[in-house]
């Protein structure tokens, strides 16, 4: 047993520097950023995400291995907007100054994003977010991928200037593909324009803006606080008045509360992935939207 571990450890030690020389090691906090980083880096980089798919990145508890992952990395891509605050501490522990704020390998993907639902320091009523820096779910607007991949490209070109042209070509090819897909998604969701929808958590403002959907209420008023009877009654009333047929739930959100509300108002529950890997079919950034668009379309047809 001990021998086996020793052999594996030796093998890994031999392998990792060689591996690192071949491909540029990138760490991202979420799966979405990993997918976008891979789209730009192609086979020149090896990206890993710290938060496993379908886990809530906001209350992720880093593991010891994560420090090792950061130590071996030359670039860190994070969501920002207070969404993955824990990564700052992790970078300090890893002692990799280049990956800290202002470092050469540091990418805050939210840079230059037009942030929605900014409410200063206070928490607005009933929007389900305690973020002083606005709603952080900006990757759910495919258009924002242009900005995010731009941020990633800039950092990759800085770290690895020799391959800058290849990174740029990768990004343009990805954006062209995304643009074609976006038209397809917009066409598919066009019939849902202004369709009233209720969601458990307010993850969807960017998605709603791009595809012109109407999120009328959220079941969760503050993160982690169960809804009060009056709030639930209000939601059910709104749903009956506006004939809401769709309630959106993410895979990690409580099934029972969502089913309860949907049941009372005669709506159906649709499980959407708010992140790559949230649902098994949502394997990368483009299929994330494929899956969500198809699920919404199917729910609207019901």
């Amino acid at each position: 047993m001990v021998l086996r571990f020793a052999v594996i450890a030796a093998w890994l030690a031999l392998l990792s520097p060689a591996f690192a020389q071949q491909r540029l090691q990138v760490v991202t906090t979420t799966t979405d950023l990993r997918s976008l980083t891979e789209a730009v880096g192609g086979d020149l980089i090896a990206a890993i995400n710290l938060v496993p798919a379908s886990m809530d990145a906001e209350d992720y508890q880093p593991k010891p291995q994560d420090i090792l992952r950061l130590k071996n990395a030359r670039m860190l891509v994070r969501v920002g907007l207070d969404y993955d605050l824990w990564v700052d501490k992790l970078v300090l522990q890893a002692g990799t100054r280049d990956l800290g704020r202002g470092g050469s390998g540091y990418v805050d993907a939210s840079f230059a994003i037009a942030v929605l639902e900014l409410r200063g320091m206070s928490v607005g009523p009933g929007d389900g977010h305690a973020h002083g820096s606005g709603n952080p779910h900006y990757w759910l607007d495919p258009k924002n991928a242009e900005i995010v991949t731009g941020n990633i490209l800039e950092a990759l070109a800085r770290i690895d200037p020799a391959n800058a042209a290849r990174y740029e070509a990768n990004r343009l090819a990805f954006l062209a593909r995304l643009q074609a897909k976006l038209s397809e998604w917009e066409a598919k969701l066009a019939p849902l324009k202004a369709t009233p929808i209720v969601a458990y958590h307010n993850s969807w403002p960017y998605f709603a803006r791009r595809f012109r959907l109407d999120f009328v209420a959220f079941i969760e008023t503050k993160p982690g606080v169960p809804p009060s009877p009056a709030h639930l009654a209000g939601i059910v009333k709104t749903m009956r008045e506006r004939e809401v047929r769709i309630v959106i739930r993410e895979p990690h959100e409580p099934k029972r509360d969502v089913a309860f509300v949907a049941d009372k108002a005669g709506a159906s529950v649709v499980t959407l992935a708010a992140s790559v890997g949230g649902l098994p079919q949502a394997g990368d950034y483009i299929s994330l939207f494929d899956v969500n668009v198809e699920a919404l379309k199917a729910a609207a047809a019901r």
Binding site: P52, A53, S54, M55, A114, V115, L116, E117, L118, R119, G120, M121, S122, G124, G132, G134, K143, K193, A194, P205, A208, R209, R212, L213, D214, V225, P226, P227, S228, P229, A230, H231, L232, A233, V236, K237, P251, H252, E253, P254, K255, R256, D257, F260, V261
Partner: protein, 419 residues
């Protein structure tokens, strides 16, 4: 209003069922001094369900329930056998260890399959508000059967019986807790278990009376908690738990008056209240004198209740600045809200804003946030300076008040100095 009430009565019905069985088990649990056993059993059941989930069984399927039950029964065996431990190491220690190890083991399992996290949460954090008549239909037969079993075995469940009866006790309790925790959550089930039983035990020594008191208290408190959750727009489970805490406090306060020397109890109660007030006043006085810029909970509360109090220690200029800053802060908040509303309604109405317009709105929102923060800083600064100015006078006044409230033997002190 009526809409909300239609939500609350199924929850009340569920609460009545849960109080019914838990008040009884609570009395047994108190007699055995195994207060936190419900948490350990619930956590073990959740671990069993997690294992089933990892093995590929869907949630709420028969195999999952089987695993859950098997784990609970194993824990029941362990608990029955370690009853004899009590002489050297309290059994409560083992219960605590079972709880933390089961919780930690579940986390380790979940770490390998994140989809399980929601599942695990669902087992342990029910929401009584979203429970319904189907839950009642599921638990009533189970609770009735277990209640009947315990009634038939009533001579043997006193906690002094053989290993077999102890096993039966823990196994049946495990089944009750596993179902109730999934409906109402760990916190509320613990309240159902301990509070009615504790109040019953406090006021009677016969099981029948203890049960009767526990049931009445449990039902009235549940109704009060639900009503508070409705009236003050609060999360239901948490409101009910606090209601149970309050009812235990009331019972504790009433106890000395109902069971003992009333005059003595009254004297002690008054002395306690006076000491509490004196300590709060003295503490506030010291806090104001030492750190006038820090939070002053007492002064802040008084100012929040009666803002005109500020007129007593603000200069005219300070008052003007303070009010104006408050008005500006509110104005910026309204402007930001308005922009947010404009952005939100544009998502579905009219021609969609282009990216530049959205970016402008976003940057305006950011500026309003900063400006509002600035105004709030001004308000805090004005108040801090005013408090710094009056700190000695006010804290001396508070200290004098504290001394006046403290039930110190003034007459005796006076007598001694004059002698």
């Amino acid at each position: 209003m009526t809409e909300t009430l239609t939500f609350l009565w199924p929850a009340f019905l569920v609460a009545v069922c849960l109080v019914g069985i838990h008040a009884y088990f609570g009395i047994q649990v108190l007699a055995r001094k195994v207060i936190f056993v419900d948490l350990a059993l619930a956590q073990i059941a959740a671990l069993g369900a997690t294992v089933a989930f990892m093995l590929g069984h869907p949630a709420q399927s028969l195999p999952t329930y089987g695993y859950s039950l098997a784990f609970t029964l194993l824990a029941a065996v362990l608990l029955a056998f370690t009853r004899a431990w009590g002489t050297r190491v309290p059994q409560e220690a083992l219960i605590g260890v079972i709880y933390v190890v089961a919780a930690a083991a579940a986390i380790l399992l979940i770490d390998r399959a994140p989809q399980g996290a929601e599942h695990l949460k669902q087992i342990l954090t029910g929401n009584i508000l979203t429970s319904g008549l189907n839950d009642v239909a599921a638990i009533v037969p189970l609770y009735a059967a277990i209640g009947l079993l315990h009634w038939l075995l009533r001579g043997r469940m006193g906690g002094t019986g053989s290993l077999v009866w102890e096993f039966v006790f823990y196994a049946s309790f495990g089944m009750v807790v596993t179902s109730s925790v999934a409906i109402a959550g760990v916190l509320l089930v613990f309240s159902f278990l301990i509070v009615p039983a504790a109040i019953g035990v406090m006021f009677s020594s016969s099981l029948a009376y203890q049960l009767a008191i526990g049931w009445i208290v449990g039902m009235v408190t549940s109704a009060a908690g639900l009503a508070a959750s409705f009236a003050f727009d609060l999360p239901t489970g948490a409101a009910m738990v606090c209601a149970f805490g309050a009812s235990l406090a009331v019972a504790g306060l009433l106890y000395p008056f109902l069971r003992g020397d009333r005059r003595h109890a009254l004297r002690i109660a008054i002395a306690t209240v006076r000491w509490v007030i004196a300590v709060i006043l003295a503490g506030s006085a010291i806090q104001l004198a030492v750190a006038p810029r820090a939070d002053q909970p007492l002064l802040d509360m008084i100012e929040a209740a009666a803002p005109s109090v500020r007129g007593l220690y603000f200069t005219h200029a300070e008052q003007t600045t303070f009010t104006e800053a408050g008005e500006f802060a509110e104005r910026y908040r309204m402007e930001a809200e308005h922009l947010n509303d404009v952005e939100k309604s544009n998502r579905i109405e009219g021609v969609a804003f282009d990216d530049l317009r959205v970016a402008r709105i976003s940057s305006f929102l950011k500026s309003y946030g900063e400006m509002r923060k600035g105004e709030q800083f001004v308000m805090g600064e004005v108040r801090a300076r005013a408090r710094e100015r009056v700190r000695w006078v006010v804290s001396l006044g508070l200290l004098a008040l504290a001394l006046a409230f403290a039930p110190l033997p003034w007459q005796r002190l006076g007598a001694r100095t004059s002698r």
